[in-house]
């Protein structure tokens, strides 16, 4: 009864408007990003979008070239250009990019037998990867040389369409990707590209989750200590283990809500980025989801459960460490800096997991990085997808042991006098020592 009273109080403190809004915003963002990325990939793959061309040469040859572009699915819109300056041209036409076929282009190729220039003006508005994904002009530019070559061979040298097909594509590259004991007719670069997409977002989600939950419990404990409500509680007829247990259970419930909510949002995000169709290089089109399924890389419900389990364990570690750190606060200012050890411990594997493969690092460095419990969460998704079960379960076991040690330390701290005397404020200690010397 008393325990439930304490638990109710903890939940009331932890589940506040700030937490709910934060959770909704983060999850919505994840879902929206997934949807947007899915749409962008779809758009890029379908080659849709407008291609603006200014045909200043105006010959039968250039008209034929534009017709070919249209046949390839590009929505070509021809524009008249009256200005010379590139900026003024784009401003006058109110577009962001333009392909200019200059006067004399056909003569240069067909009569002078020289390579001719085509101008491409493009306005950069963003440096983000997604900014250029749906740009049909960039895609059309890639096809120009191929179209011109075909036209030359067809009209200039009298080759048949079949001959051109063979010359243009003498080798039919059939890419097969093998993962463990499964294979699929898909380019490895496509799979790596997909892994990179999740490699960016997953660590961010984990990092946010760790920081958020740690801040939550550090703030809760330090406020109790600073406001002396902890002294009031611990002098009341209720055991210290109940007080600590209610705090941990309350935090664990909130952590579980977070982990489940993030897993649902994450699966929605992955569904978004995997829904786009892709050319796998043999004339077939698979969805990313189908390709991953063939390779056994598609996350099953069990996979998501294991990822959720690892996330939960990570949160429990963050919470138990935060319990100890929160108890060290002496004032509101010191409480804010107490998150630093967790932030650094999460930042190191976070950065490394984005840029490097921990498995390929020298033994000593790899061991040191693996000693950070959060590392195993950042690498969990790759371990689950690629079936590195020894590393996954080893990491989870290590996290469990780490959690038990932290919880034991927190329990010892809460049942001893140290809960009222311990502090971690290097700045103040330094000032105090300095003042004693002067």
């Amino acid at each position: 009864m008393k325990f439930f009273n304490l638990l109710k109080k903890e939940l009331r403190e932890l589940i506040n408007a700030q937490m709910i809004i934060g959770l909704i915003v983060s999850i919505s963002l994840l879902m929206i990003i997934g949807g947007v990325m899915g749409d962008a990939i779809e758009e890029a793959v379908s080659n849709s979008g407008d291609v603006y061309i200014s045909n200043q040469d105006n010959t039968e040859f250039t008209e034929s070239f534009i017709k070919n572009l249209k046949e390839m699915g590009y929505n070509v819109k021809q524009k008249e250009v009256n200005k010379k300056d590139s900026v003024e041209i784009l401003e006058e036409l109110n577009i962001d990019s333009l392909i200019i076929i200059p006067e004399g282009f056909t003569k240069g190729i067909l009569e002078d037998r020289k390579t001719s220039d085509i101008e491409y003006i493009s306005r950069i508005k963003s440096t983000s990867a997604m900014a250029s994904l749906g740009d049909a002009n960039t895609s059309a530019l890639g096809s120009i040389n191929s179209i011109i070559s075909n036209l030359l061979m067809l009209e200039g040298y009298g080759l048949s369409t079949e001959d051109i097909g063979v010359i243009e594509r003498p080798v039919n590259l059939k890419e097969i990707t093998v993962v463990d004991k499964k294979s699929a007719s898909v380019s490895p670069s496509v799979i790596i590209g997909m892994a990179s997409a999740q490699g960016v977002i997953v660590p961010i989600v984990i990092f946010i989750l760790v920081m958020f939950t740690s801040q939550m419990i550090i703030s809760a404990i330090s406020t109790e200590k600073i406001d002396k409500t902890l002294e009031t509680l611990l002098s009341a007829p209720v055991s210290r283990i109940s007080v600590l247990g209610a705090k941990m259970l309350g935090a664990a419930i909130v952590a579980l809500i977070n982990a489940v909510a993030y897993m649902i949002a994450f699966s929605s995000y992955m569904g978004g980025i995997m829904s786009g169709g892709m050319d796998i290089g043999v004339g077939e089109t698979l969805t990313m989801s189908e390709a991953l399924k063939e390779l056994g890389l598609k996350m099953s419900a069990g996979g998501y459960f294991l990822l959720g389990l690892q996330m939960f364990m990570t949160i429990m570690i963050a919470l138990s460490v935060s319990l100890i750190l929160g108890a060290m606060a002496t004032d509101a200012k010191s409480a804010q800096t107490l998150i630093m050890p967790i932030m650094i411990s999460a930042m190191i594997p976070y950065m490394i997991s984005i840029f490097m493969d921990i498995g390929t690092m020298p033994n000593i460095i790899r061991t040191l990085i693996w000693a950070i419990p959060f590392t195993h969460t950042f690498t969990a998704i790759n371990n689950i997808m690629f079936g590195n079960w020894n590393v996954f379960w080893g990491g989870l076991a290590y996290q469990f042991v780490f959690f038990i040690v932290c919880m034991y330390s927190a329990l010892k701290l809460f049942t001893s006098d140290k809960i009222f005397t311990i502090s971690l404020n290097f700045g103040q200690k330094f000032k105090f020592n300095k003042s004693k010397r002067t």
Binding site: T229, E231, P237
Partner: protein, 245 residues
């Protein structure tokens, strides 16, 4: 009159500091005992030991027949503790706070209701009890906490600086409540820097410095013993006599 608290040679050694050094005193039923002393004298350490928050290095204290060393859980049923400059849970309303604390002291719903009713009447916050504590003034929080501390009618209420930071009107109200409850049999252990307050409120005084309880006595007796006009001068004489400065 029965003894509610018996402190016997209580000491607390931190790594390099002897915060309490063989402190001994008694508090009878319905008595207000004040522990006074400069900052760092050992008042809070002594109070925390009696409140079972920290363990003594040596000695013992017996509250209503229960040892703080052997039966701390029983001691906690007989006492309430109001720390110096304590706050309350800001996300709760005053009423929710009282309900939560009542639930910590008893599992009996009727008893809890009685506690809440008693505290509600005593604090005088009326409708403001339905507002979040975050919106309360310091005086309101102190009144809420004091009413919480005495709502269970503990055998011993331990109040660390009960009126610190309060204006004259609020301080007077709180002193009145304490006096009134003591007259009904509740015992108080109070710590304070405010000598005038102690002179007004307490039945007996203990002067503590550098962890040692130097003198114990009724205010009038001490004034006569040291031939001075008020408690402040008693305090000055005692600490000078024992060469604590």
């Amino acid at each position: 009159m029965s003894t509610v608290l018996e402190v016997k040679d209580l000491s607390k050694q931190y790594s390099k500091v002897l915060a309490a050094d063989g402190v001994s005193f008694n508090i009878d039923e319905g008595e207000i005992f004040a522990l006074i002393g400069p900052n760092g004298a050992g008042k809070t350490t002594t109070i925390r030991m009696i409140s079972t928050l920290i363990k003594p290095t040596s000695g013992d204290a017996v509250v209503a027949g229960y040892s703080i060393k052997d039966k701390p859980e029983k001691v906690r049923e007989c006492i309430t503790y109001l720390p110096d400059e304590a706050g309350a849970y800001k996300t709760m309303t005053g009423y929710q706070y009282l309900k939560f604390m009542a639930g910590i002291f008893t599992n009996d719903k009727n008893k809890a209701e009685t506690y809440i009713k008693r505290a509600t009447e005593m604090c005088g916050l009326e409708d403001r009890l339905n507002e979040k504590i975050a919106s309360y003034s310091r005086g309101m929080i102190r009144k809420l906490l004091l009413s919480r501390a005495v709502m269970t009618h503990p055998k011993l209420a331990i109040l660390d600086e009960p009126t610190s930071g309060l204006d004259v009107i609020n301080a007077l109200e709180i002193r009145k409540i304490i006096k009134d409850l003591a007259s009904k049999g509740m015992s108080f252990l109070i710590s304070s820097h405010n000598m005038l307050e102690i002179e007004f409120i307490s039945d007996r005084v203990g002067i503590i410095s550098k962890g040692k309880l130097l003198v114990i006595g009724k205010t009038e007796e001490l004034k006569q013993r040291y031939n001075v006009a008020n408690l402040e001068e008693v305090f000055e004489r005692v600490v000078l006599e024992h060469e604590v400065f």
